[in-house]
Subunit: 429 residues, 2 copies
């Protein structure tokens, strides 16, 4: 074993960073044996230096992250501060000064992954980020290494634990969105401002990263269609149950049937209870992958939290250190396929639509005509009503989002349609 | 991109080998882009050269596997012939003549993994074998790379599709073992001689490989306790249902509570319906991993079949080719922890025991005394009986296998115990 230690700079020492530092200390011998050289925590950049950090020598702590990554003797920079800046500049500075980088920063990777990979390549350094998607679940490495000889056609996953907790609660207790959100907040599963989670921004960043890796194509955050889950109601869950389904917030990355383009989207959707993703409970994450040769795979585990995220960071740290000792780098960005990313209108799926309609003869015929005019084929219709009010639940066959949108616009113009109560996509069949 | 192609020799051209060759041909451009150089099928060693092999140039086919691996210009040897010999000699010969090796050979890896890794190391070559365990499911790479910074405490999985198909069929239809086996055979899920599957030999080989990687310790096939599932009855499934459980054939690799030793075993066990492994249907495989930092992870997918296995082989092929171009090797054997492998008697778990007893007063007291004398604490007892015959179902708290074995031996000596109808371990709680 090499005796000169590899030097690690830690940027950020919050929930994840402190756990990374703790495991580096308590499991130093194991890490050294697995890497083939000891690893040493050479510096920790923080915003609040006065906070007591158990197990971290005070002289390692600095507020000058830039100076730390510029030291020149750092082998690996671990970035767990999150956000776009200063993380982006610190990472590129790290490459320029000879370090490889392990990051858990989904927002940054989703927005600037291509530029960061280019910077890593320019300096012949590694950029690893297993922790950026689905916490501890090994996903990036399986997609870009284990399935490197396969053709991935679809990645569909629950990649946000907060929203899964809320939806699972609504499903199991019949609670409404607000009530379930309040419980998630009280239990620490949701942040005070839950926007990034419940509006799907967090999941969209992960979808961009996953789509890019799965399809060997650059997919930017802007390419990802995004719809939050704040409008999912107890009534939607009741409808889902009647269909033998539940509702999940899904990130879906798909190759078009002709293979010539891809799409990426985040939205709530009904999935059959028999689908493996349907039974993912609480704050757990799971990602379902479909490929030509491997068939259907699923990866399941905790999607967030200090320890799980630290596990992913440390797995990358071991890999990057091994590469460094071997004088090599791991697989970098693979974007050779450069497939176009199609807009949401091109996505083809099934829909569950609830309409409030007038309870009189001929309404169903009118509604069915509108669907037919827009080329959307109806699978089932269920009518119920009393006292002049009625509801109509339509489940369609597969149709493009554009066709469905056109259908709904036309439906809204019908005198007999009082309102569109909900539109929910149906996936995983 | 490098233009000189990497040369691949394929040993075996059956269900898996022919699929590897097909994908290498049909996806040549993708593989080249992902590797950074074209790969070329340089030779295919087969037993029956006269069989027509679509898409493989006849001049590549040879019956002389030894000459093929000795050619000296081969970059990677893909071994998919299975069995111990000639596979073992061909692999070591391949290393000696400058090739890295990708293998799907679980039996060989379980028996001689250490020697093969040593041969690879001696010649500074790669030995990859993702396909050896759980087919297409990325498992070896996640365990030895993604979780390289974590401490794995338990690996528990359904790693044999044939037996899972049979048990799932028994569970869902109430069929007996023989009836379910007959259906599995008719559908091609079970071989004409199903011994390797139903007696747990196949799963035991995988358990040895998984335990070795998870615990950084050499675990030989002989170290794995093995019990088949041929004696599981419809009555056992009925008992399991009463417990809120189902029955699966599990491969379980565990670190002892004190961390100082490990165990590996294969046997049928009851697991709660709420456990993610309980819902693994048909011939699918799934492996549940518990680690210090990551927590609970699960990997799910098809555990066998030509295409899924080929996917795993090709993922390894891409990795080994990349390593070769980069002049490096991937992670080799990691056995530094060298923990002792404890015998089955040391394994601690819960038990479900069905006894046929005389239906008279005092029997329960006698039985309970025997459990107490052996230090096995009883969780629940259920008595039922009529006409002088009765059954007693005992579920224990956690106890060592040695203590349970002693208890059962003593129970058999009681006049009032007419027979021990079944003993089943209860896992995953």
């Amino acid at each position: 074993m090499r005796t000169r230690p590899l030097k690690v700079a830690l940027l950020g020492c919050g929930v994840v960073g402190s756990e990374v530092a703790r495991i580096m200390t308590t499991h130093a011998d194991d890490l050294a044996a697995r890497i083939g050289a000891p690893v040493e925590l050479a510096g920790v950049a923080v915003r609040r230096p006065d906070r007591v950090r158990e197990g971290i020598a005070p002289e390692l702590v600095t507020t000058d992250a830039t100076a730390l990554v510029k030291r020149g003797d750092i082998d690996v920079v671990v970035e767990v501060i999150g956000g776009i800046e200063p993380a982006r500049t610190l990472i590129t500075t790290a490459f320029e000064h000879g370090a490889s980088v392990v990051s858990a920063n989904k927002a940054l990777l989703a927005q600037d992954g291509a530029a960061l990979h280019a910077a890593a390549d320019e300096h012949d350094k590694d950029l690893y980020y297993e922790a950026a998607v689905a916490g501890a679940i090994p996903l990036i490495r399986p997609l870009r290494e284990s399935l490197a000889g396969d053709k991935i056609n679809r990645v569909m996953g629950i990649v946000n634990g907060t929203t899964n907790f809320i939806l699972d609660k609504m499903d199991s207790t019949g609670a409404g969105y607000q009530e379930a959100l309040d419980e998630a907040t009280a239990l620490g599963y949701a942040e005070a401002d839950p926007t990034a989670d419940v509006e799907g921004f967090d999941a969209a960043a992960k979808a961009a990263i996953l789509a890019g890796i799965a399809f060997h194509t650059r997919v930017r955050l802007d390419d990802v269609y995004r719809e939050g889950m704040t409008e999912v109601t107890a009534a939607d869950f009741a409808s889902a149950k009647e269909m033998g389904c539940t509702i999940k917030l899904l990130a879906i990355c798909e190759r078009a049937a002709d293979g010539a383009s891809v799409t990426a989207r985040v939205h709530p959707a009904m999935i059959p209870l028999s689908h493996p993703l349907a039974s993912v409970r609480g704050a757990y994450n799971a990602v379902f992958v479909e490929s030509d040769a491997a068939g259907q795979l699923m990866f399941y585990g905790p999607g967030a939290g200090g320890s799980p995220t630290a596990s992913a960071v440390l797995g990358d740290l071991v890999a990057v250190c091994r590469n460094r000792i071997g004088g090599a780098t791991g697989p970098g960005e693979s974007a050779y396929a450069a497939l176009p990313v199609s807009p949401m209108g091109d996505v083809v799926t099934r829909y569950h639509i609830s309409l409030d309609v007038a309870d009189k003869p001929g309404v169903l015929a009118q509604v069915a005509t509108v669907f037919a005019e827009h080329g959307v084929s109806i699978d089932t219709v269920r009518q119920s009503g009393k006292d002049g009010e009625a509801s109509l639940v339509v489940v369609t066959h597969r149709a493009s989002d554009a066709a469905l949108t056109g259908t709904v616009e036309a439906l809204r113009k019908l005198d007999t349609v009082r309102g569109v109560a909900s539109i929910m996509r149906v996936e995983g069949e």
